[in-house]
């Protein structure tokens, strides 16, 4: 029976475990795929275009992957390059790819597939018929498009297939559904898309789906015509029915029906079998193409600028009445800055209910409180000024039965307040119908690392 072997070395920039990667490569893979981004990190990165991992960390992981792909002449597929995969983040990722190719004398034909959607294009598509919401509450509006800092579309398997057809040996994608990074090569070879996508879904987090799990370590998938097998690269990790089935649930809304670009992967009849101590076999996953091909859009808009102040409170007499003291400080701050612009003031009481807020089942203060004071203002100057003012007001606030009249806040860090820059919110999570799955994702082939011999 024919077989296609995929390896997943974890997350690009997270720190691939090199011995684990070496062990995975010993299985003689047909391709390597890796994810380099996520929306788990909040809207800041989609709003600003900053990378999430340090450039040096991204390079450190790229070097062994590009070396291995080059040496073995196997495709390397990188998706969500980098962070939220805006065009500037993709361009930054490509600059690291070029640097590695040059320094390591590696040649690649790289297909670069951007996924950022131009505002004018989006307005045009939204004008006839407002785009329907996925997670967002209402159809997309013109104002939401105009306010967006960036919008990316989540590509399916097709743009990657097209890039491979064009002769790319390395594919660097902007925003892509993470499982398609692993499914593209097999789908191109005629393997079952349901199995290929299910395998991709489990492999995209490296060895997280094993016991013990790790996002640093490598995982191997063996795809065959009617099933796939998963195995960890490291002997101390086991794929178990429990660990793999659990990962099928991970970070998805529905365990059986997993919607993606162009259809739904139906896992209702998936079977998980323990092959031996180390490996699990999966079969029965079924891809159901949708009538309309829908691409998910993600967008963020700017809502202000933030300054923060982190302090500790230990005095039990103050902790008992902290809500009242904070309310008074907020009132004084609002009076002081009346007419100077809009701002939000948020107190988070770590040790009481900062983590869960209104969902907290036991909002009881501990013996100390970490107080994070946050101001989001129209300008950074306003946020900084209001944050410093409320801090000072709290520091010397008077309250009933006070004994400690020197001050109320313990500071771990100077400067006392820190500007955090612009604040963004996710506001677009909508679906755009497309006639051609590739129409939003044009690609270009770039030769990297080519050494031109002197004439």
């Amino acid at each position: 029976m024919r077989e296609l072997r995929a390896i997943s070395p974890g997350k690009l920039g997270y720190g691939c475990d090199l011995p684990s990667l070496e062990r995975a490569l010993e299985r003689d893979p047909h391709y390597i795929a890796i994810d380099a981004g996520t929306t788990d990190i909040g809207a800041y990165y989609l709003g600003t275009g900053e990378p999430f991992y340090a450039p040096s960390s991204i390079k450190r992981d790229l070097v062994p992957l590009m070396r291995a792909a080059h040496q073995r002449k196997i495709p390397l597929i990188i998706g969500n390059m980098v962070a939220t995969a805006r065009n500037d983040q993709l361009a930054f990722g490509m600059s690291v790819v070029r640097e590695v190719a040059r320094e390591e004398s590696l040649e690649f034909r790289v297909a670069v597939i951007p996924a950022e959607i131009d505002r004018a294009e989006l307005l045009r598509r939204n004008s006839a018929h407002a785009l329907e919401p996925l997670g967002a509450r209402a159809p997309l509006t013109t104002a939401e498009i105009e306010e967006s800092a960036a919008v990316v579309g989540q590509m399916g398997v097709e743009p990657i297939l097209r890039a491979l057809d064009a002769g790319a040996d390395m594919v660097v994608c902007g925003r892509a559904c993470d499982d398609v990074l692993f499914a593209a090569v097999p789908v191109r070879e005629g393997y079952d898309p349901g199995l290929a996508l299910h395998m991709g879904k489990i492999l995209e987090c490296g060895a997280v789906a094993f016991e013990p799990g790790s996002l640093h370590a490598s995982a191997i998938g063996y795809l065959r015509d009617d099933h796939f097998v998963l195995e960890a690269a490291d002997p101390e990790r086991r794929a178990t029915v429990q660990s793999v089935a659990s990962h099928t649930l991970y970070e998805r809304s529905d365990p059986y029906l997993q919607a993606g670009p162009g259809g739904i992967n139906d896992l209702s009849d998936s079977r998980f079998e323990q092959l031996d101590e180390q490996r699990v076999k999966i079969s029965g996953s079924r891809w159901v193409p949708a009538e309309r091909y829908l691409v998910k859009l993600e967008g963020a808009r700017h809502i202000g600028f933030r300054s923060i102040c982190m302090t500790g409170i230990r005095d039990p007499i103050l902790i008992e009445q902290l809500d009242d003291v904070l309310a008074t400080a907020e009132k004084k701050t609002r009076e002081r800055f009346a007419g100077e612009g809009a701002f939000q003031l948020i107190f988070r009481q770590y040790g009481r209910n900062a983590v869960m807020g209104d969902l907290e089942p036991t909002p009881v203060a501990g013996h100390e409180i970490g107080l994070l004071t946050e101001v989001i203002g129209e300008t950074q100057a306003l946020a900084a000024a209001a944050c410093m003012f409320v801090r000072g007001t709290l520091q010397h606030a008077d309250y009933p039965r006070i004994l400690a009249t020197a001050g109320n806040l313990a500071y771990p860090i100077s400067p006392f307040t820190v500007p955090c820059g612009p604040v963004y919110t996710f506001h677009i999570d909508h679906l755009v119908p497309v006639a051609d799955p590739c129409e939003l994702f044009p690609f270009e082939i770039e030769r990297v690392g080519r050494i031109v011999a002197p004439v």
């Binding site: 997670g135 869960m356 969902l359 999570d429």
Partner: protein, 105 residues
């Protein structure tokens, strides 16, 4: 009635995209999974009450046999990272489930 923390292998929460919060409740063994499913107490009503949310905002309570697990998904009370949200990644929102009591059939 046992508390979930006594009969589970895994109880975790995470964002499923910025607009959803999802929970995986994985039981220690298949027999317990079946008894909880048949017991009928794990429902949208139970989750809505536990998290003080409207029942319409609980999008999924699905028993997942291959994983001997219950998958729960809700609309996030605050979009990830919006002002006032305290857990962008969403991995510390499982706590009310730990002590929730369930009926074993």
């Amino acid at each position: 009635m046992p508390r979930l923390r006594e009969i589970c292998h895994t109880i975790r929460s995470k964002q499923a995209g910025p607009f959803r919060l999802t929970f995986d409740i994985v039981f220690k063994d298949e027999a317990t999974f079946r008894r909880v499913r048949e017991g009928g107490s794990v429902s949208k009503e139970m989750i809505a009450k536990l998290y003080h949310q409207s029942i319409d905002d609980i999008t999924h309570v699905v028993f997942y046999e291959p994983g001997r697990a219950v998958k729960v998904t809700m609309i996030r009370p605050k979009v990830a990272g919006d002002p006032g949200d305290g857990d962008i990644y969403g991995c510390q929102q499982h706590v009310p489930l730990l002590d929730a009591e369930v009926v074993l059939a």
